[in-house]
Symmetry: C2
Subunit: 584 residues, 2 copies
């Protein structure tokens, strides 16, 4: 099969001029034109040669058809499919590679997909576009036919589905998207994720993911160095999210204390108790439920008014459990709580864990990023004394979803805890060093490649680049805090400068400002944030989260991890909350 | 900020001709040229205008520099980076979006990444390229510097890393890659995965993944219809791989029988016993270890010579467990075992599960795809009686990694089992139908979007397209079986036509053919497959798996899920095994 590349690149040198009336030049140019994107093909050729298709029909298969080029917008972006010459209505997925003549349509199709994606990327950062084009589930189900059928659709329809899907997508990279802990869209991370998809492999063995396995090794070691474990020693894995990382930590902690649990189950061990703060992530309870420990055996330790675990309460509850004959086996401290962004006092927790010989886990899914900052890493002082750490680069470090690491101080424990020696994967007579086959360290068999985007971003930004990003986000959070702390109509949920980028506040509409602080006011205040949020989504201008917590009614939780956000976007958020909430 | 798109698309209409000496035409052309890929820019402009940069310098920023175009190969593919005009050595990730002037370098950078990926895609299907360019871990660690540093690297280095990473990648889409159950590279699936990366969102709420959540709903419902549950009713989720899907099934089965286990743990329930065949996937044991059930409580049921669970042994072991006072709570039948590709007799298993009121799970991670084929779906007869089914479209259906579904017949059970009501995510006062917030159905909090690639492929292929793919793979397996079953030097591990695409065989080199069937021969035979496999990897010509199983020494397990494979590739595999193994 001739490579279309050859006609693409090798024209021109022999005829030397650009004479459009020279037939061989025309043909060469038309061959070039095949590779250009969308409408530019038509424009290019029509400009030079008139109806070029008539002059070099041999350069085009039956699937190149003339379609109007009138679908170009004034701003040059292609509103409809850029099907300038390729008539995708005549093509199906079976015409693409590995089909025998599939190379040309494949390159055209993937390039057109890419053009759709690039448009979306550019729009994502454009403040004049909506963050979200919101539709209710029933509307969205009715407006389009999403059903799966027996018969194939042509590639024109497939490209249309790509556009439709992105039309309704939340622009999570938009400078005014603040809804989750994971925001932003890093261009190098995105490129790396595209490459990961293209490589389409599995992390379980070096055999089929040599580079990715080595990069995981290098990256986890670097993360352990940053945590402060000597020489970066220890173990770790990238897992499918912080909840699973936390569950893995609980699993390993239990195994360390009672290795017989692997074979004999919980029946063979005394009642185990885990401790975590009342502000900790719900995944600790989920993990305990799954592992057969039970949610009743997760003791929630009291927090101070800033959401930090109170060490004296931790010690009291540990003693209480021991007095009952239970076995405290895990304390999960949180470095960066989900709502308040609080950092538990890790040094005090470490002392208690040491005293009572309890596994110390740090859930730094959200706060781990601050370890990259000279200015802010003190907030995690003591993390180096942990036995295990969850750290999600897909949150504060802006790595595309998903990318969550579990780091474990003791080497070999993950393997002992989880290995089952599947002989079809981990053959002992392979010809390379088997320590690079990491698949038996986790519960998963197949494991998605999550490391490459982090590694490539780290290469591109350097540690200093992550540091600058994190310092900037924290500065923006402080900027927001300083604006609203004394502004009319705002009440802070807790006092003092934010420690992370979480800024928690109520917006109090004018009608409520005059009310006494009683139940009716609380009840009315609880309805404010949901209405403003719903309006935000319907206007599509910005998105920020809200929730109740304990005895505190619905309040906004602003978080900033988005590298695209600026002071102006913070100003905009405040204006928007007031615009949408002043009549409530 | 002006869109570069406008200069790209809007030239030409006013000047009407192609006169290269007309300065405005030249400028317009140069503006066009900016968008073209790599070396074509130079060729295009140099051909028409000589040193075009001198004529329209205003069209280019300081980062457009002249570099030699001599890096084009004869076949037109760009061997080195296609940095025709953009000098990436002067650019860093901080120059890309969301940087203020980041649009132009971003589009150039992402396009160049895409060109690297497209080259890789084309090469993946080219039989004249290697499946693998194998290097030992230490070599690979030494040949390149993979370390992470404080300082950023420029985008030229980043693009180089992309090329290096792909240079050593296993071409999992290559027509001669047969190493795992997941092979092949589907172009629509790949496009969908790129889009998923670009949308960069999370499945936990409709709020931030509206389309993906709906597509998950539609797709899971369709899969349940195909399983045969009335009207496609039931529940389900896409999870990070078959091992996790199986663990989720075990978790839900336990909760269904003893809901108190969620709060009280295993201490509150009697000893639970799970049953699965001795050929089943090791994830069942991993799951039992994790859930606090213990691997000793997973009873392995005997298989017949084809690797199918023997129902009478299942019933015997259930009775045995009950006599000991244990509680049988789960039978996991396998539809498509990992090594033999065997289908357990699901109808007989279903009868036993019904009789003893045990949750019936079917691990159809590998075999589920056969449900798409009218010709082969009978092998899963009885699956419609299961309480839960694991089905991995990333295996036999060729969806990019990863894409694993757990389907559950009873609606609402997953939610009851796993929910923790995190108020910061699942606010009860949202303005849309909360049943679309699926995040509390699973252990994970954040969940990667795995559905879009399956959905888009299904649209593109139709059910009939999957059927054709699966029928073809099974036909290829039978072709292989027919060639080797009577061929000199081959011994089948089990008799009879393969039921799935697994073909298990020994290659017996000439020197062993004359030996008696004794221990020495077995010992020598056990070393044959590892050596041939190591040679395959060093030559890079093909890859196929091997393993021992029970009392059977190392044998090859051929599996075919790759849509690119043909009869000639099967012939090639046989020739290659003989070429590489005849001297052993």
């Amino acid at each position: 099969m001739a490579s279309p590349g050859s006609s693409f690149w090798s024209f021109g040198s022999e005829d030397g001029s650009g004479d459009p009336e020279n037939p061989s030049t025309a043909r060469a140019w038309c061959q070039v034109a095949q590779k250009f994107r969308g409408g530019i093909r038509n424009k290019l050729c029509t400009l030079l040669y008139g109806d070029w298709r008539l002059r070099c029909p041999e350069a085009f298969g039956e699937w190149f058809k003339r379609v109007p080029t009138g679908h170009l917008r004034e701003d040059g972006l292609c509103l409809q499919l850029s099907q300038g010459d390729v008539n995708y209505a005549f093509l199906h997925s079976t015409d693409l590679l590995p089909a025998c003549d599939g190379e040309r349509p494949t390159l055209a199709f993937l390039q057109d997909v890419m053009d759709i994606l690039l448009q979306y990327v550019v729009k994502s950062f454009d403040r004049s576009t909506k963050v979200i084009d919101f539709h209710y589930p029933n509307e969205l189900l009715q407006e389009h036919n999403w059903e799966l059928a027996d018969q194939p659709q042509n590639l024109e329809e497939i490209l249309m589905h790509c556009q439709t899907t992105l039309k309704y997508a939340i622009k999570t990279g938009h400078p005014r998207y603040f809804n989750q802990l994971s925001t932003g869209l890093d261009m190098v991370g995105l490129a790396a994720d595209w490459l990961t998809s293209t490589a389409n492999t599995n992390m379980f063995t070096y055999e089929i993911a040599p580079v990715f396995v080595l990069l995981e090794y290098v990256t986890l070691k670097k993360m352990r160095e940053i945590i402060g474990w000597p020489g970066g020693s220890g173990d770790g894995i990238f897992s499918p999210g912080g909840a699973i990382s936390n569950m893995y930590a609980m699993l390993i902690a239990r195994f360390k204390m009672f290795p017989e649990v692997k074979e004999q189950g919980m029946a063979a061990v005394p009642r185990l108790i885990a401790f975590t703060s009342e502000h900790s992530h719900f995944s600790l309870k989920k993990g305990a439920a799954a592992l057969g420990i039970g949610t009743d055996s997760v003791i929630l330790i009291k927090c101070d008014e800033r959401g930090k675990m109170i060490p004296s309460d931790l010690e009291r509850r540990i003693l209480e459990a021991k007095q009952k004959g239970f076995v405290p086996f895990l304390v999960s401290a949180t470095a960066g709580t989900t709502v308040y962004g609080a950092f538990d006092p890790l040094l005090a927790v470490a002392d208690i864990c040491k005293k009572y010989k309890i596994w110390m886990h740090v859930d730094a899914a959200w706060g781990g990023g601050l370890l990259m900052s000279q200015k802010h890493k003190w907030k995690l002082s003591g993390v180096e004394r942990a036995n295990s750490v969850t750290w999600n680069p897909h949150k504060m470090m802006g790595v595309p979803l998903q990318c969550s690491a579990l780091l474990v101080r003791e080497e070999g424990l993950m393997q002992s805890c989880n290995q089952m020696h599947a002989s079809y994967l981990f053959q002992q007579d392979k010809h390379y060093d088997l320590s690079y086959d990491t698949g038996d360290k986790a519960l998963q068999c197949g494991r998605h490649v999550d490391v490459f985007k982090l590694w490539l971003m780290w290469r591109a930004k350097g540690t200093t680049g992550f540091e600058a990003h994190i310092d900037k986000c924290l500065e923006l959070a402080e900027y927001l805090y300083n604006i609203i702390k004394n502004r009319e109509g705002y009440e802070m949920v807790f006092d003092g400068k934010p420690q992370h980028t979480n800024v928690c506040f109520w917006y109090v509409p004018p009608s409520l400002r005059v009310l006494e602080d009683n139940e009716e006011r609380m009840s009315r205040l609880s309805k404010v944030a949901p209405v403003i949020k719903a309006r935000m989504m319907e206007y599509g201008t910005t998105m920020v989260s809200y929730q109740p917590l304990g005895d505190k009614v619905n309040f906004f939780r602003m978080v900033i991890s988005n590298p695209a956000a600026t002071h102006q976007d913070i100003d905009f958020l405040i204006e928007e909350i007031e615009r949408l909430g002043q009549d409530l």
